[in-house]
Assembly symmetry: C2
Homo-oligomer: 525 residues x 2
């Protein structure tokens, strides 16, 4: 299609939007669109057929892309789960919403059971705000914004919850560590490896089927009512220990990880089909993405693929933060579009508010962008992407250029023990095992020519100078005006683990916590 | 689609084929389908949007895939150009057709100007055989099967030729080395960098446009006649020095290499459109692939992408030999199919003969397979893929497993000089810089779980034993029965360079050859 044809297409779209603008403005419309966010766990950019996974085992996701928009340049807000999820739901970088640590320089931190902190009450979460437009909100799956009761989803705007507060690590002995509880709404209904089994040997678990059923039931229940719904489907089958139902075990050419992807693909197909069958597809905005890059240190059995990108989860190279991203809204997002818009999971916050016809909070900095102009009109909005590791701005991307101010994979000590975030990859001076500072003379890559971050631009080239004169001030401006939030991931205490979650009494599953010993959390990388 | 639905679809297809079988059998049909082979030069698996290239700049090729079949597991016959092309046109491994060297162990060899050898007269080339079914054959672009007159395309079955016998390296001074001639049919019509300019500084050249016009003219000329045509479009814009027309220069996010890809994509779009506009699309089988993996040692400016695969051109890792491959034949190959069939460029020989309704030569071993059952009925045919480097069987793939009997990238000497076939990649014990023999205990990879060849199976695992008991005998059987052809790439002589090609007199472009000094060709890797 030539430029003229595209322009005509956009004009037509704009016209349609104007004729139909009630869809976008709550003031004009009795019911803004439903919102479904499908957030994967440790799934990589290269894990979908439509992103080039060689086995091509994701027909439903590939169809979702064909019927909607595929984003090539969409990023998580952090190379690790908890901070990325907190950023998605607050529209704010982890450095602002407190999901980081100051216990060390540039250390990834998250919310294991011993973490004392969680999402601060002062943060406004997407479901809290969506209430103003009468949305009913449900989270299915992993919360990860703090497991202590005051941090739970129903304290922060969600109306319903089925899932767990932490990762499904285990099994534990319930003496040194308790198994992670599974909640329905405010109370636990069991624990992983107990009422909700995961067979570590075979990889069998029917959790994805349970999560799917929760999603389908929620959609069915709310499709007919006047109010819109928000479903946050945060499933975790692709996070180690990777699992799949019996029907999917052994079904993939890619091993157990692929089995989990196949089951997820199948489930997404079911969700989209239900929306279509019930006639609400064109009033439901669906977005599929992941919380961080594939965990290459668990590959190949329990880790995915970041396609052509460098390294994976835990790092601020592209493999750590570039994500698969599909937007689907039949009748609104044109089928088969590809967007190179630089996007972020934080944009899902802002975009969702725009869909609901709500204003952004005015009392705080919101990092997320409204992507509707990109999704509906094909606009390209200039904006930076910030790559943080803990308290440290490691890199920035704007346009085609990425500057690294710090490089680090993990320590030599860890690396020599076999923990490798970049297996099979080694770019001299880039995938460093000591924290290397480049703030005065950043390493700059052109991500179009060099998506794998293998060839830093020559410091003496005019291209380097031009890129630096764009990226340098953008980073400085960001850092100059940034007010970091209170760090939530500094203090750990064995007494705060999930010993006696709400509801444990009814089930007879309360455990006795050990003595309270607050201590500095240890974040090795 | 479930298994039952697939079965029904195949049965329907079979029925259609039976009703319509004249298409496949020359005996029953006045005109078998036209055949168009679009062979790229040094293009990698990861260079097309549909194979996951992040910039997604190949809308026409992506559409070709959507309208036809995408093959995920299609291989060149060699990690280097000349042997791969000789194999394509003979349906035989280079070790059989003579396109290899015995000057060193496991050395890649090709046909630079000083090579004395070329395609032996004893080899039967596809266009020679297609004559029996009244095909008219044209090659546009790079021949590479020997530049001395006795080896030229018109001596080996082609009716027409526009292009060059060798790579477009240069410019040369016409004293130490002559510039490469460009031929129309039997006579040269100029030389690269002279009548056919390539600007090494800007990358500008209109060669792809010339090659496109040659293709379009040939199709237009032959579409109306009774006899079918075979077009072998072997263009070379993605081989260093990479070039593009002015209209495409600067048009890609990927730099000059991407500009070349965009121009190729645009040209393929023109060719397919012409076939459709003239109403012969459903009687023309079109196949798009490449001669070997992307030349990573020329990246990022003049080399492409092998996606998630290990290393590139010159190596027998997946990046050196796994190729993009699209088959398009509207009304015959179902739109949007994906095939995991292990395929080879040699299969294009056998498949083309099947399309023409011709028998395979009975007096020699043909390595190529007829892929029509895979393309038309979705069959999966069990067969091995052999990875040779020169005279040495380096590896074999069958099913999901690949065994390496030898590993080598290039020598330490070359590597320390900056020649790197695996930039940014380093798999300990796999990407070796000395030739490592593993014949007794091959390195085995599961390519489904581990397409990047990073995790050799444990020698003590039962999976290793099972894979070895399949791959070992397959390789042994191959080697036991193999009769190598006379090696053609052993002897070099400066006197045989393109000093005075046929037709040079008319143009006043004959140069005086130096003294004849036959010597052993030097093949460093």
């Amino acid at each position: 299609m030539d430029a003229e044809a595209w322009r005509m297409r956009w004009l037509l779209l704009l016209l349609l939007l104007l004729l139909n603008k009630g869809v976008l403005g709550a003031a004009d419309s009795p019911r803004p669109p439903n919102i479904v966010l499908l957030l994967m766990d440790d799934m990589g950019w290269g894990d979908l057929g439509v992103y080039g996974e060689p086995s091509r085992e994701t027909p439903n996701l590939d169809r979702m892309a064909a019927e909607g928009m595929l984003l090539t340049n969409f990023y998580s807000a952090n190379p690790l789960c908890s901070p990325s999820r907190a950023a998605l739901l607050t529209g704010r970088l982890p450095i602002r919403n407190g999901f980081y640590t100051t216990n060390g320089h540039a250390r990834n931190a998250y919310t294991p059971q011993e973490v004392v902190g969680g999402i601060p009450d002062s943060e406004l979460l997407l479901p809290e705000l969506l209430r103003k437009a009468n949305y009913t909100s449900k989270i299915v799956g992993k919360w990860h914004l703090g497991h202590r009761p005051q941090f739970h989803p129903l304290k922060h705007g969600f109306d319903e919850w089925f899932g767990s507060p932490n990762c499904h690590f285990g099994p534990y002995d319930n003496r040194a560590r308790p198994n992670i509880p599974v909640y329905r709404d405010r109370e636990m209904v069991g624990r992983f490896y107990e009422e909700f089994p995961i067979n570590r040997k075979t990889g069998e678990s029917n959790l994805t089927q349970i999560y799917l059923q929760e999603a389908l039931d929620f959609i069915k229940k709310h499709q007919t009512v006047q109010h819109p719904f928000f479903l946050y489907w945060a499933i975790d089958a692709t996070h180690a220990p990777v699992y799949a139902s019996r029907r999917f075990l052994g079904s993939s050419q890619r091993g157990r990880y692929g089995d989990a992807v196949r089951e997820i693909d199948d489930s997404v197909g079911e969700i989209l089909r239900l929306l279509q069958d019930r006639g609400i597809a064109n009033n439901t905005f669906v977005f599929f993405t992941s919380d961080n890059g594939a965990a290459l240190s668990s590959a190949p059995k329990e880790g995915g693929s970041n396609g052509p990108f460098l390294c994976g989860k835990e790092t601020t190279f592209e493999g750590g933060m570039r994500e698969p991203a599909l937007a689907w809204w039949p009748g609104h997002i044109p089928a088969g579009w590809v967007s190179h818009q630089l996007g972020s999971v934080m944009d899902l916050f802002t975009t969702s508010l725009a869909l609901a016809g709500l204003e952004l909070p005015q009392d705080r900095v919101i990092d997320g962008l409204n992507l509707l102009p990109a999704m509906l009109q094909g606009q390209l909005i200039d904006r930076p992407i910030f790559y943080y590791r803990g308290n440290t701005l490691m890199a920035i991307t704007q346009g085609e250029y990425k500057a690294h101010f710090w490089t680090w994979t993990n320590s030599w000590e860890e690396f020599t023990q076999g923990i490798d975030f970049c297996p099979g990859q080694n770019v001299s001076g880039v995938t460093t095992h000591t924290q290397e500072e480049h703030t005065l003379l950043p390493l700059i890559f052109h991500l179009g020519r060099d998506p794998g971050e293998r060839y830093p631009l020559s410091f003496t080239s005019s291209e380097y100078q031009a890129a630096l004169s764009m990226l340098g001030p953008a980073a400085q401006q960001h850092q100059k005006t940034l007010i970091p939030g209170q760090p939530q991931l500094n203090v750990c205490n064995p007494a705060v683990m999930n010993w006696a979650p709400p509801g444990c009494e009814k089930l007879g599953k309360c455990l006795t916590p050990p003595e309270s010993v607050p201590e500095k959390c240890s974040w090795p990388h």
